[in-house]
Symmetry: C2
Subunit: 109 residues, 2 copies
DNA sequence: TGGGCTATATCCACCGTGGATATAACCATT
DNA sequence: AATGGTTATATCCACGGTGGATATAGCCCA
């Protein structure tokens, strides 16, 4: 399959980062929350996916942590690159088409 | 990752079948069309995915072909089972949540 | 100072994917 | 009736992503 170059896990990570979840563990919780618990990214998939996204130039490490949060030396912060934003947008638009098709098929309201 | 038990390819096939594409090749064209060419299911992924869905009880072979179409001995027709419809609906709803989240994040309009 | 949660990282076996290859039936044209 | 392009299904292999366990360690509260 082709889509763009994103796996499902990759899209979830990009969406979480776009939604303001700055570091890995926050991404994990975001994905679980936004999916109502249906999607869970285990640590293996999570950190490997982040590293792949960094290698692909869709995500970059950010050395400015969340100013609201208390300092936590363990955390590594990430943000979308321009290419990452574009990839996330493309994939979201593709998904929106799928949802529309599902509506037209009478699968959902 | 968990979602339900569907891979991306699996969902595309279920959606195509729910939309009235009765046989494998029609599924392939539907997926390509509905995605604007962004998603392509090669024959390998396509037929293997169908067989897996049959084995999982989400799809069953239907021996009543499309009455509109001219007879074609090569075609094998398929339709969703009740479980397949439920799985497709669950996945579509999950996708709708992701699209909503993407809107809230300002990724798409 | 002990325990539970937060946070990141790596490893392995398994499974799905992509793409090539093969086969053959269908249909229009010559 | 032969040709060629499209439709249609099927199988194979190497590759890469996934899931889940395991490890390590910093954080925070009692």
């Amino acid at each position: 399959m082709v889509s763009i170059m994103l796996t499902a896990a990759g899209f979830h990570v990009l969406l979480a980062l776009a939604s303001g979840s700055g570091h890995g563990y926050a991404v994990m919780r975001f994905v679980e929350e936004v999916s109502g618990g249906a999607v869970r990214l285990g640590p293996g998939t999570l950190y490997r996916t982040i590293n792949r996204l960094v290698a692909d130039g869709l995500v970059e490490e950010s050395y400015e942590g969340d100013p609201e949060a208390p300092h936590d030396a363990r955390r590594r912060y990430y943000k979308l690159t321009v290419a990452g934003e574009r990839a996330a947008r493309d994939e979201a638009q593709l998904m929106a088409r799928m949802v529309t098709a599902a509506r037209e098929a009478g699968l959902i309201a």
